[in-house]
């Protein structure tokens, strides 16, 4: 993820230094205003922490390990402006003293990870966390996804920077002068690793540390929690009440489905192919491409394997279509709630006995 020297042209590096500079300026002004004399020790210490966290090897599902950058965590704990300063400082020190990332590419690395990463992580976290209580599971999920999305946006930016090099810089023989791979290679190559290993490392560290802080030091999560967030989780029953009410309303509204005529595109049954009305409907919704007169052999064979008890949301023994819809919705929603409760019971963390 840290771009070394030599991969980007000096012009690209200059553009990215120029792009990063206003963000650094605004971040410094905002953070200085908010922290005043605390600015220097807080950002210094958090930059040091960001540096160390990048050295953690995180065990990931599937037996592999990965490194996180900690962008999501920094944005959740410090807010976007202080996070971009702290992570930028860590990136500068890595480049100058540890050979990790290039010196000419400091602007690019800071722009991708510290600036874009911190802003994206903060936006995702605030949108997903909403006004949930600081100790809520929703904040853990929001922090994890913030880290995951942020590292992938950073990787995408880096891939675009790599991918435009061969378009812009070639020598007299046509050989690329810097990163040799075009966008069509650079983007999939970068994203493959980041959507999987690096993304999950970032998700793990962001979600895991936020969950840890909820139990051990929830005050650290207050900075970015928004005004409405309370430190304590509201009583579980009360918090869930609006969700149950919403689910009930949706169940009651399910008979609206019978107002729609025809069938959804691509959800045809084997017998629909021999029905002239459905044939006509398929052709009308498929750019006048006529459907075969008989159901495809594979579809006909596979459709015999399983017959749903509530086919088309209307069990044959119920005469009222509206009641059939309602019954199907209650049965389906009940099954999902049951499955969630079972999974929660199997994998959920047990509260320690007091």
């Amino acid at each position: 993820m840290h771009i070394p020297d030599g991969y980007l042209s000096p012009a690209t590096c200059a553009v990215l230094y120029t792009g990063a500079a206003p963000f650094w300026y605004v971040a410094l002004r905002r953070v200085r205003k908010a922290l005043h004399t605390r600015l220097v020790p807080l950002i210094s210490l958090f930059a040091a922490f960001s540096f160390v966290i990048m050295m953690f090897n995180l065990p990931l599902p599937g037996g592999t390990t990965g490194h996180a950058v900690g962008i999501g965590l920094a944005a959740v704990v410090l807010g976007p402006w202080a996070a971009m300063l702290a992570v930028s400082i860590a990136i500068v020190i890595q480049a100058l003293f540890f050979g990790d990332g290039g010196i000419t590419a400091i602007g690019a690395n800071c722009f991708n990870m510290a600036i874009a990463g911190a802003l994206v992580a903060y936006a995702v976290y605030r949108i997903l966390a909403g006004r949930a209580a600081i100790g809520s599971a929703r904040r853990v999920m929001a922090a994890g996804l913030a880290g995951y999305v942020a590292i992938n946006v950073s990787a995408l930016l880096a891939a675009i920077e790599f991918g435009i090099q061969p378009l812009l810089y070639r020598d007299a023989t046509g050989a690329p002068l810097y990163c040799p791979y075009p966008l069509s290679v650079a983007i999939p190559a970068m994203m493959l690793g980041h959507l999987t290993i690096a993304g999950f490392a970032e998700l793990t560290v962001s979600a895991g540390v936020v969950a840890f802080l909820q139990r051990s030091d929830p005050s650290l999560l207050k900075t970015t929690a928004g005004r409405g967030a309370a430190l304590a989780e509201p009583a579980a029953g009360r918090a869930m009440r609006p969700l149950w009410a919403g689910l009930g309303a949706l169940l009651l509204l399910t008979p609206l489905g019978i107002l729609a005529t025809g069938s959804a595109w691509g959800e045809w049954m084997a017998r629909d192919f021999s029905n002239p009305a459905v044939q006509h409907e398929i052709a009308a919704t498929s750019f006048q491409q006529a459907a075969p007169l008989r159901a495809p052999e594979g579809l006909a064979r596979l459709s015999q394997i399983w017959t749903a008890p509530f086919a088309r949301y209307a069990p044959p023994y119920i005469r009222s279509a509206a009641f059939g819809y309602l019954l199907s919705a209650m049965f389906g929603a009940g099954l999902i709630v049951l499955a969630c409760l079972t999974v929660g019971r199997l994998f959920g963390r047990k509260e320690p006995a007091t």
Binding site: G6, A48, F56, N57, T65, T104, G174, G208
Partner: protein, 276 residues
């Protein structure tokens, strides 16, 4: 019963990584205190000179010019008593392994004049592919060598103070200086945390439990960081800190420094001119 985290496990790798980081910092400080050519120069001259050589290598569009800058970097390393094995271990091997893996497919994927067809695989090495892979490898290895020279011939604090020549705000330089010092402290703290955890753990843990342990350690470190930040802030206030940052500027240019600056400027300008 096997150990918690066998050889090559995440605990070992994290400890090794942190140990390598600490060891590198100590080696760099030790080397920077030596009596070689670059060690005798003003930090500002080294920062400006070595960075302009990195820039010249980045700008060059001729392979021989980048190779010449690389050769110059090696000569500077020898004159500065930075052993070649240190360069190889800390810059070249890593750069060759990482960038080599990235550069090799370019041999076959870059369209151009066919040079050689791999028997059996029917992959064709093109002249343009060979050139672009050489550009990438040479630039990376040259920049890595020059960056390592700066690190191994100049104490960290001086490098950071020398950044002021680029008009970087003094508060940034102060934060960089403090962060670099506390990195060593936090690295040591994290290293000790993992070592102690490893030494008192027996039995195999499942993946989820190991993840919980790693993020728990990160959480503890984060709490300690904030606690330390508060302590440092109080200590700074007790010593009269009121938000204004002042740096002691103890640099003084000598004749050798001016000569070296002229030399760096001439070499970088020549490389940019020849490599255009």
């Amino acid at each position: 019963m096997k150990l918690l985290d066998g050889h090559g496990g995440f605990l070992e790798r994290t400890i090794e990584g942190m140990h390598a980081g600490l060891e590198r910092a100590v080696a760099a400080e030790h080397s920077a205190a030596g009596g070689g050519l670059l060690q005798r120069l003003d930090a500002r001259v080294k920062v400006v000179g070595l960075l302009s050589l990195i820039l010249a290598a980045a700008l060059a569009t001729r392979l021989w010019v980048i190779a010449a800058v690389f050769a110059l970097a090696v000569v500077l390393a020898v004159l500065s008593r930075v052993p070649l094995r240190v360069l190889a271990a800390r810059a070249w091997i890593g750069a060759l392994a990482f960038t080599g893996a990235i550069a090799v497919p370019a041999l076959f994927l870059t369209p151009g004049v066919a040079l050689y067809r791999l028997p059996g695989l029917h992959w064709t090495v093109t002249a343009q592919g060979l050139t672009t892979a050489s550009y990438l490898l040479l630039r990376v290895i040259t920049a890595a060598t020059l960056a390592l020279l700066l690190e191994f011939t100049t104490p960290w604090v001086q490098v950071l103070k020398a950044l002021r020549v680029f008009r970087i705000p003094v508060v940034f330089v102060a934060i960089l200086g403090m962060a670099s010092r506390y990195i060593l402290l936090l690295l040591e703290t994290a290293h000790e945390m993992f070592e102690s955890r490893k030494s008192r753990s027996v039995g195999a843990l499942e993946g989820a439990e190991r993840r919980r342990m790693a993020v728990g350690s990160a959480g503890v470190l984060l709490s300690r960081t904030f606690q330390l930040s508060g302590d440092v802030y109080l200590a700074m206030q007790a010593r009269g800190f009121r938000g204004e940052v002042h740096l002691l500027d103890d640099f003084a240019m000598k004749r050798l420094d001016w000569l070296a600056l002229a030399g760096f400027a001439a070499l970088a300008a020549a490389a940019v001119w020849a490599g255009r």
